[in-house]
């Protein structure tokens, strides 16, 4: 039924320095096209490291990441840029770029050496403006936007890369409640309509449990468990992983609301 987009086998992630620092190892996982996968876990469990590794921005310590069956390391940087796009938490330095220009930068992996936009590229930019419902913002300067509008623009930019896989690092951070709901629902809709795989990490457990097709729970030990939100709630894993000194995380409450 579902097509595997990305697969990791016996993956070890961490940092290369004089001595390799392993954040997590023995990771096996699969990402499916057309699905929204949400990664949750406490601070410092290695979520961002895992996302960077899967997006090819950071080298693996061991094991393989396969994109459509091809090892990520065998792809050139520009080949990778046509298959994987990212939305990061970091803000980029302010500039005189309009929303349309920011989104058009997503087309660069497809353009010639000078970055010339063809009619096709322009049409794709129009299309993603429409998909994110931000046509009205197209001529505005990016740095005059609200946080919610910026996040939609960055998602549109990543979408303009026409990826097989979009990876988003905390796309709901800094957003108010209506914008969090709007962004997550939009991502789920985009997963369905574009057929790409969407992977995001978030601390919005309540929301994520309701929209995710697949949930990945990363523990501080580096242990990664995959399953449907229902399975992971019923098994008591979520309640345990997010327990506080004052008691367990009331994960079952989320089930009743579903």
């Amino acid at each position: 039924m579902s097509v595997t987009c990305l697969e990791a086998r016996n993956l070890a992630i961490g940092y290369h320095s004089r001595i390799a620092k392993v954040v997590a190892s023995g990771i096996n996982l699969s990402l499916f096209s057309g699905q929204l996968t949400c990664l949750v876990g406490p601070n410092g469990s290695g979520k961002s490291t895992l996302l960077r590794t899967l997006s090819g921005l950071q080298k693996t310590l061991a094991g393989d990441v396969l994109l459509n069956g091809v090892p990520l390391r065998n792809l050139s940087a520009s080949q990778r840029a046509r298959k994987i796009s990212v939305v990061l938490t970091e803000h980029f330095p302010p500039s005189n770029l309009t929303v349309r220009q920011v989104i058009a930068l997503g087309r660069l992996p497809y353009t010639d050496w000078l970055g010339t936009l063809t009619e096709d590229d322009e049409r794709i930019v129009d299309d993603v403006l429409d998909k994110l419902e931000i046509e009205a913002l197209a001529g505005r300067f990016f740095h005059q936007l609200s946080d919610g509008e910026r996040q939609k623009t960055m998602i549109a930019r990543a979408l303009a890369q026409q990826p097989d896989l979009m990876i988003l690092d905390e796309p709901t951070a800094f957003l108010d409640w209506p914008n969090r709901v709007a962004v997550l629902m939009k991502l789920k809709e985009l997963a369905r309509t574009t057929g790409a795989a969407f992977l995001l990490c978030s601390h919005d457990l309540e929301l994520v449990c309701q929209v995710a097709d697949v949930l990945w729970v990363m523990e501080r030990s580096g242990m990664l468990t995959c399953g449907s939100p229902r399975e992971l709630i019923e098994s008591g894993l979520l309640a345990r992983v997010f327990a506080t000194p004052y008691g367990e995380f009331p994960a079952r409450r989320l089930l009743l609301e579903r």
Binding site: L57, S78, A81, I84, P94, N96, L97, T98, L105, L114
Partner: protein
């Protein structure tokens, strides 16, 4: 569309201003030569007065070409540095290239020759070429260091190193000055004032190819400069190799800044002010537009500054460096005030 009509008008205006400034630079000077005669001389039809032909072909033409090339080179290098370092106050000299050139020039001017009232004038062309050669070697030395390091260290580290090299060289130059004759100090000082006048045809044969190569490299870096507008991580996610892109950008900017400093001395402000002017006129940071605009506006500003430096109607000459600052500072102030939001203005 309104915007595209405005943009087209803007480009035509900029090109017209450049052409006008270039023609004016040939007409205006200690001797005023009529436009018709200038055109005749340029077309190879000779002039009614043989002296005019010499003035145009041997002095004003190479000088105006030097101004044209220098203005483009400094503005483009400045824009590259501002984007690479994400710093609105970055200029072509930020990597310490000009410090190397200064040291080279200082060594030749302050340590050689017995010194006379017109030390450089006495040495004539040889003196000029010697200073150019020495400052080019100094620039090349720093350039080699910077480009070797650029592959290994962090962008900010490079910035700090450039500033430190500048301090080091200034200290050495001051020591040299302490032990030099007043005439030599005067000669060195006038080198730091900057001038397009010292560039003759034989020097242009080296200067022009260096600048053209630098500009070609800059054009090749346009796509990565645009990616860098989103920061290094996004640039990588778009398939750009930040290390290689940064290396090409630094190679290009150093070549441009080094060539200008070697042949024309220190010329400030064009490299900081013109990129801001270009982006603010175009209302765009897209380097596909901003880079050619920088080239055109930079050349125009350099030609105008050179004309003003000659004090029309008098035989005196102002320091070129002061003229560019007097022209450039109001431009920056205007850009800041016009945009109201200071952060926005400085980030353009």
């Amino acid at each position: 569309m309104n915007r595209s009509a405005r943009t087209r008008g803007l480009w035509l205006g900029m090109l017209a201003a450049l052409a006008l400034a270039w023609l004016l630079s040939l007409i205006v000077g200690a001797v005023r030569i009529p436009l018709v005669e200038v055109v005749n001389i340029l077309m190879g039809q000779g002039a009614s007065q043989p002296a005019w032909q010499v003035i145009i072909l041997d002095f004003r033409l190479p000088k105006s070409l030097a101004a044209l090339l220098s203005g483009s080179a400094l503005a483009i290098a400045g824009m590259q540095m501002q984007t690479l370092f994400r710093n609105p106050l970055a200029d072509p000299y930020i990597l310490g290239i000009s410090s190397g050139a200064s040291l080279g020039a200082a060594l030749v001017i302050l340590l050689t020759g017995g010194g006379g009232v017109h030390f450089l004038a006495k040495l004539g062309f040889l003196g000029n070429a010697g200073v150019a050669l020495a400052s080019a070697s100094g620039a090349l030395l720093v350039f080699a260091g910077v480009t070797l390091l650029a592959r290994q260290v962090h962008t900010i580290t490079l910035l700090v190193l450039g500033v430190l090299v500048g301090y080091l060289v200034n200290a050495l130059v001051r020591i040299l000055i302490q032990f030099s004759l007043p005439e030599q100090v005067q000669a060195y000082l006038s080198w730091t004032f900057g001038s397009f006048g010292g560039v003759s045809w034989p020097q242009l044969a080296w200067f022009a190819p260096a600048v053209v190569l630098g500009i070609l490299l800059a054009v090749a870096s346009i796509k990565s400069l645009n990616c860098f507008l989103l920061g290094e991580t996004y640039a990588r996610s778009l398939g750009i190799s930040p290390r290689r892109a940064r290396w090409i950008i630094i190679l290009s900017a150093s070549l441009l800044a080094g060539a200008v400093t070697a042949f024309c001395g220190l010329i400030g402000f064009i490299g900081i002010a013109v990129p801001h002017l270009a982006r603010s006129l175009l209302r765009s940071s897209d380097h596909r537009e901003a880079l050619p605009a920088c080239a055109i506006l930079g050349s125009t500003v350099a030609l105008l500054a050179d004309m003003l430096a000659q004090l029309p109607g008098s035989s005196g000459i102002l320091p070129l460096n002061s003229v560019t600052a007097l022209l450039g500072a109001p431009v920056i102030i205007w850009v800041i005030l016009k945009q109201r939001n200071l952060r926005q203005a400085f980030s353009t």
